[in-house]
């Protein structure tokens, strides 16, 4: 099946900037999959998502969303995507339902009516079903100002699903939520994906969130560091290694050099080998060893290593 998001050598340089905020990234997203763009603050996540959702023009490269060119067919792209912004985009002076209703009208789903009761039955049923799915049916008549952060996020999700987007973009949707709300939000995202088949594209700087998706793209300073399933990314980022040491360090150093084994002294001798090769290597070494350790860094170690400012 053709990819629903195709990004090809995308570059964005802001006006008067000296470096590219997004520096030639390419990736595809399959329809119905759950995709995460992972990276630290300032990596280019929001810039990327802004270009994908047509609110920002790219400097070069191409982006196709649901078959439409993001630069030339912005209106078609907008009709096919839903967006949840990093900062809440609800009107605090309106009720929850009014926020949803205005969205429905702006997207041309229903004609304008000044009250909930006067809206078509189809609208009311749709809103109640979605609100029920996210557990906020009781809050519909309340002013948004009175809702908690988690409730507001859910309301934004209800609203963004109203026009049945093919892709739902979420820019750091869990930022500012407590752990309980965060977990609930993830449960809801899985539910709506199961029920509507929508493609989910989210940005996050939380590693544990990225581990729960189908595909992860790790970016840093505008470039792709790693791309694949969470397991693949882990395998790519995380290298097992062996630590050795001996009381006679000169002898061990000479022996490793003689056998052509590359190593770094950290201060122990660190050798990038894993699995069966470890035993193979150990069998050959004659210098008496004082330390033998195999090491598997956590994904978090690897991630922090990548995103550490240069």
């Amino acid at each position: 099946m053709a990819a629903t998001i195709e990004v090809d050598r995308l570059v964005k340089r802001y006006r008067r900037a000296t470096t590219n905020a997004v520096d030639g990234i390419s990736f595809d997203v399959e329809p119905g999959s759950f995709f995460a763009l992972l990276g630290p603050n300032g990596a280019g996540k929001t810039t990327t998502i802004s270009i994908l959702t047509t609110t920002l023009a790219p400097t070069s490269g191409s982006v196709r969303i649901a078959g439409y060119d993001a630069a030339r067919q912005a209106a078609d792209v907008r009709r096919n995507v839903g967006i949840i912004f990093q900062k809440p985009s609800l009107d605090l002076n309106l009720t929850a339902e009014e926020n949803v209703r205005f969205h429905a009208i702006l997207y041309g789903l229903y004609p304008f009516r000044p009250s909930y009761a006067s809206m078509p039955r189809a609208y009311r049923e749709q809103v109640e079903r979605l609100a029920g799915m996210l557990d906020i049916a009781d809050a519909l008549g309340k002013p948004v100002r009175k809702l908690s952060g988690g409730m507001q996020r859910k309301l934004e999700i209800v609203r963004s699903l109203l026009h049945q987007p093919k892709i739902l973009f979420l820019d750091e949707p869990t930022a500012g939520l407590d752990p309980q709300s965060r977990r609930n939000l993830w449960d809801y995202l899985r539910t709506i994906r199961g029920e509507s088949g929508v493609t989910l594209f989210l940005t996050t700087h939380y590693l544990e969130e990225a581990e729960q998706v189908d595909h992860v793209c790790v970016i840093n300073t505008g470039r792709i560091v790693s791309l694949g399933t969470p397991a693949e990314v882990k395998a790519q980022l995380v290298q097992d290694y062996l630590l050795l040491d001996a009381s006679n360090r000169d002898s061990l150093r000479a022996e490793l050099c003689r056998r052509g084994v590359s190593f770094t002294e950290t201060p122990h001798f660190r050798i990038e080998v894993a699995g069966g090769a470890v035993q193979e290597l150990l069998r050959q070494i004659e210098t008496p060893l004082s330390l033998v350790q195999t090491h598997t860094p956590s994904l978090e170690d690897a991630y922090l290593e990548i995103v550490r400012p240069q």
Binding site: K87, L90, N93, L106, F112
Partner: protein, 259 residues
């Protein structure tokens, strides 16, 4: 049709926002009271006898047009702040024409400004401005002209300023000179050449003169108060409105996407 509904929605939202904000409602009433009651009354009492027309009436027409112009303009400028913070993000991402957003916003802010217009008229009645039914009727087209022109002027501003803070700092310098150049408090019959040029390019001048053209129709003060015929003023206003609207929206959209 979709865009028509979108315009209605954006308009409705602006009006609801205004009605649910008590502080803004009160502010709306204080400002006209100050201008018409205090300033107009004082001008007439001190200078009125020598000029051959009632300064309170002249000030009233000027303030009426100016307030609607400024209020709509200020409302439009809130779009800059909104596009980063709240529901406007949502409006900007919707698959609707940018002109629908701009027009919806101008109409919405115009209606909000009209509430202020009504307040001014009420104070004017209390302050004994010579209002007749015909003159009251004439205020309706005046209000429409002042609001729409102010709204388009606002669009022109936001197309050229980065942030609300900058726009709000510059706005007084663009509005305040117009108080005098446009002749809010007295008709600008004679001005030195440089000021005359500035006066002729200040949009508010035409809205104010249009207001007076209707207000003084058939009265003996017409020739001493009104500068140009309402038809001419209307033509200039229409031309300025179109230019501001199209150029402003184009700048604004470009600014949005080509950051």
């Amino acid at each position: 049709m979709r865009d028509f509904n979108a315009i209605l929605t954006i308009t409705y939202r602006d009006v609801m926002k205004f009605l649910r904000d008590p502080a803004r409602l009160v502010g709306t009433l204080i400002f006209p009271l100050f201008f018409v009651g205090v300033l107009g009354g004082s001008l007439q009492a001190n200078l009125g006898s020598g000029v051959g027309y009632n300064l309170l009436d002249v000030t009233f027409t000027g303030i009426f047009a100016m307030t609607l112009f400024q209020s709509t303009c200020q409302g439009i400028i809130s779009l800059i702040e909104d596009r980063e913070n709240d529901f406007s993000q949502e409006i900007f991402i919707a698959p609707i024409s940018r002109y629908s957003i701009v027009v919806g916003k101008i109409v919405g802010e115009s209606l909000v400004a009209l509430a202020q217009g009504v307040a001014i008229v009420l104070f004017a009645v209390l302050a004994r401005v010579s209002l007749t039914p015909t003159r009251l009727l004439g205020l309706l087209p005046t209000a429409a002209v002042a609001c729409l022109l102010g709204g388009a002027f606002g669009i022109m501003l936001i197309g050229n300023f980065n942030s609300q803070r900058v726009a709000n700092q510059i706005l007084p310098y663009l509005i305040f000179p117009q108080f005098f150049l446009a002749g809010i408090f007295y008709p600008v019959r004679t001005l030195p050449l440089p000021l005359d040029i500035l006066s002729r390019i200040s949009p508010l001048r035409y809205a104010v003169d249009f207001a007076r053209g209707l207000f003084y129709t058939g009265s003996r003060e017409y020739d001493s108060v009104v500068l140009a015929s309402p038809a001419l003023n209307l033509t200039v206003v229409a031309a300025m409105f179109m230019i501001f609207l199209f150029v402003g929206t184009a700048f604004f959209v470009r600014r949005e996407r080509n950051r």
